[in-house]
Symmetry: D2
Amino acid sequence: MEITSFKSIVNNYQTIFFDAFGVLKNHQGLLPGIEKTFDYLGERGIDYFIITNDASRGPEELALDYQRRGLKQITKSKIVSSGMLAREYLKYKVKSGLIAYLGTAQSAHYIETLGLKAVSIADLDLEQAEEVSALVFLDDEGFDWYSDINKAVNLLRMVNIPVIVSNTDKSYPVSRKQVAIAAGGIANMVQDIVGKKFIKFGKPDAQMFIFAYEHSVKKGAVQDKEKILMVGDTLTTDILGGNKFGLDTVLVLTGNTLEKHADTRISASGIIPTYICDSAVID
Amino acid sequence: MEITSFKSIVNNYQTIFFDAFGVLKNHQGLLPGIEKTFDYLGERGIDYFIITNDASRGPEELALDYQRRGLKQITKSKIVSSGMLAREYLKYKVKSGLIAYLGTAQSAHYIETLGLKAVSIADLDLEQAEEVSALVFLDDEGFDWYSDINKAVNLLRMVNIPVIVSNTDKSYPVSRKQVAIAAGGIANMVQDIVGKKFIKFGKPDAQMFIFAYEHSVKKGAVQDKEKILMVGDTLTTDILGGNKFGLDTVLVLTGNTLEKHADTRISASGIIPTYICDSAVID
Amino acid sequence: MEITSFKSIVNNYQTIFFDAFGVLKNHQGLLPGIEKTFDYLGERGIDYFIITNDASRGPEELALDYQRRGLKQITKSKIVSSGMLAREYLKYKVKSGLIAYLGTAQSAHYIETLGLKAVSIADLDLEQAEEVSALVFLDDEGFDWYSDINKAVNLLRMVNIPVIVSNTDKSYPVSRKQVAIAAGGIANMVQDIVGKKFIKFGKPDAQMFIFAYEHSVKKGAVQDKEKILMVGDTLTTDILGGNKFGLDTVLVLTGNTLEKHADTRISASGIIPTYICDSAVID
Amino acid sequence: MEITSFKSIVNNYQTIFFDAFGVLKNHQGLLPGIEKTFDYLGERGIDYFIITNDASRGPEELALDYQRRGLKQITKSKIVSSGMLAREYLKYKVKSGLIAYLGTAQSAHYIETLGLKAVSIADLDLEQAEEVSALVFLDDEGFDWYSDINKAVNLLRMVNIPVIVSNTDKSYPVSRKQVAIAAGGIANMVQDIVGKKFIKFGKPDAQMFIFAYEHSVKKGAVQDKEKILMVGDTLTTDILGGNKFGLDTVLVLTGNTLEKHADTRISASGIIPTYICDSAVID
């Protein structure tokens, strides 16, 4: 395993796609010094986007969170979340009716800003089932798991509606040692029980990268995929997805993949990053 | 699809294995007239056992429930539950330490009657993780799903212990139209998240049928598999398992498989019962 | 199930995406009258593309085949094949070395037109394994299954290289009653045995639709997804993929989904087309 | 990882179950010195059985092969193969008709000794499909993969018959570095394509251990599971299956699991052997 310096690589690209958790921040907050990376990119006119499997909050709130922690450069327009893709689906494919969701009131932002009527699964009466036109998994919090996951299963047995999963991650870290089951993990269980095909948004799916790519094109950034670099800590989402979309990829060792496991995991999975770097911090 | 009379079949066998839910009872209670079936079998000296994916209660309590509802013939010795297999596993393979479980206090019966120390996942402190020697999924009730399923995931990340799933069913009916997620459904989600191999007991697994078979042999019943008939309402558990164990099988249409779907499901799955009968009621 | 006339729908769109097999042609050749559909679209200035999971031949040859059968309107620029996506991947991600492939010499077109050196797995000596920089599944013909599929498995045990699957279909029809295993079916078996993650291109994956979409944008067609209609005969590829990408979808009953099964399959899968039409033939 | 001496363990048991490949032999032949293990067991009156996922030859031939190589102690009655379980299934469940099979003429032994009429898939005419009453996967050799695996797929689309897989292994070693795809690997591909549920026999399935257990009981050996030890080189078949059946288990490091990988694999899989020994050779 050859470790390359992140600084020595970035100058070859015009746009950098960053995963968030494990790359820019961890359970303790921002990675110390990560703001210098964005200073460096800013000085050289290298554009960047944060591509995250997150639908718990809208892009504005996600950006505000970075700013509050000291990363002033991250504005709303720099965020591409899987929640935005779920929103896009609803915009094109679901024009009316109640949209039932599992998640916090905050996460319902993605539905409500479309002018659609969102109802938390907790507040849904199954007598109303016929009025529901879609079910969306947004977050693992904001509802009672026992009564409301069971309610979601029964809703899907009563009506044949599209089910949108806006975060494909199965779990996420909550402390140095512990994780929590994510919306994607719950959605997989429900899908397995009802036997239907859910519509899932998130890395490694190509749609996530295309959305970021089109986003970057709109903002005036380059179109050439060879000038985009994807930086992530997880082989099965960030690196697999970046590779498949045709991008060069960097595996950083500050999150899910520890240095001692990197070689084994790369050869066991066959998912091969273009580069391996200790960290995305440039100092 | 040829429908055969159950009465015309049973006389060819010396032992009948019955599934419980969808065959002897449904969400409303016992199937009307089902006691006549047991009278008939009793008169002719045909033995019977109830083979059920259930670990929510011990065999004694399961039998008492039948008796209370009016089926006096069902005694403890007639019950073969997947919980009994989980208990057997613990007896042979786990001799000491704490046994953590997801389920009601009632379901912990299977652990406690072995003299092992059971601790509900709700009461477990993860600081004690090193003292835990196995985790058992017993029931979908008796704990807080959000905090305790997450706690189970983290326990399995901290210690490498066997995980026993004592009911492989993903869901079970709670009313005419509604189902609830079963312990097996929850266990599948946790297994998928932690990436380990759980030890699962229940139909269609052969071990369930062998346990019943040995049970029946001990009680003096026949040894010849050709003289045993398996009766069930679910192709993927009762019929598949019975077939694989070498038994003749009857699909009854009083539960999971409705008459209008039977042909389609049999040809789509390739799981072929020896007979199809309207019901296991003999009148 | 409400059947809509295809003619009554198409005028609401500016671009039509057609699946090939089961929509435009079947095992006997072109669907009788299908050329009138293209006359109709041409007269009204409605653009169209054929989106096909096919890597057995290059787009030029695929187009020639339509022309030879009498569909003069189908030119190379109207074809979007999964092979083109595999080619795109190789172009961006694999710049040198031998590209081993399973398929006919004809299918190697996708590799050779990039200036890369293609070697049929049949001609590969495993002593050369270290020189191979990627393995591509292109077609189910052109090699000896026993020796060459086994050789592919062993190649992947020797070197850690990306594996590209250029057709995700598991089988394809060869006569009214019979099918053949497709490259995607073989690739799934190999992937399961070596335990690695392959890079797969084809419907229902979003990348297929994006490629067609960008293709159509380049050709001057519209950008608004609401003005694109996807027409297919298979729920799990054409309709699922089209829906997920945000397009309106038409299920036609001339291929994989027979009229008598349509309702059952839609409600069992939860994959819901916008419209159901007897056929894509406009007369 | 604590390594225990195999000799120090065996005296605590009355019967030893051995896996074959990776434990008693490898691609070069018998493990040097393994005959001393059987001398040792013989002297102490410890019984033994070989439990193998193999249906390529009957138990008599399998035993002869050991004897020819110098292991005189292995007689037919000491062999328990997955082919014997497939045979048992056919005996109880398929009484007439043609039995189609994929395998060598030698492997058809399991069918023919039942008095059933076996026909190689290679010799089957699909016009006869209606006469076929079961399909059995016996071996990966003895037929043309391209034409005959495709023929098997089409047979299963024409008639709804039980499919028996008599070896669940996906691959097997053929030299120090290379493997070959096994019958179980081919069967998985066909099952995935036709979407039916196959009946599979082999470790880790409990039925394999029960068969050996009943076998050992018939031969007068003990009934107490605590007095049986399972010895194998593969966590996911030998150790998982032995554990689930309630046996003590030994992982030996002479086959699939190398010493350097043992700890990682045990903690990643959660499959925990009772003991780890360098080898089953006692000298």
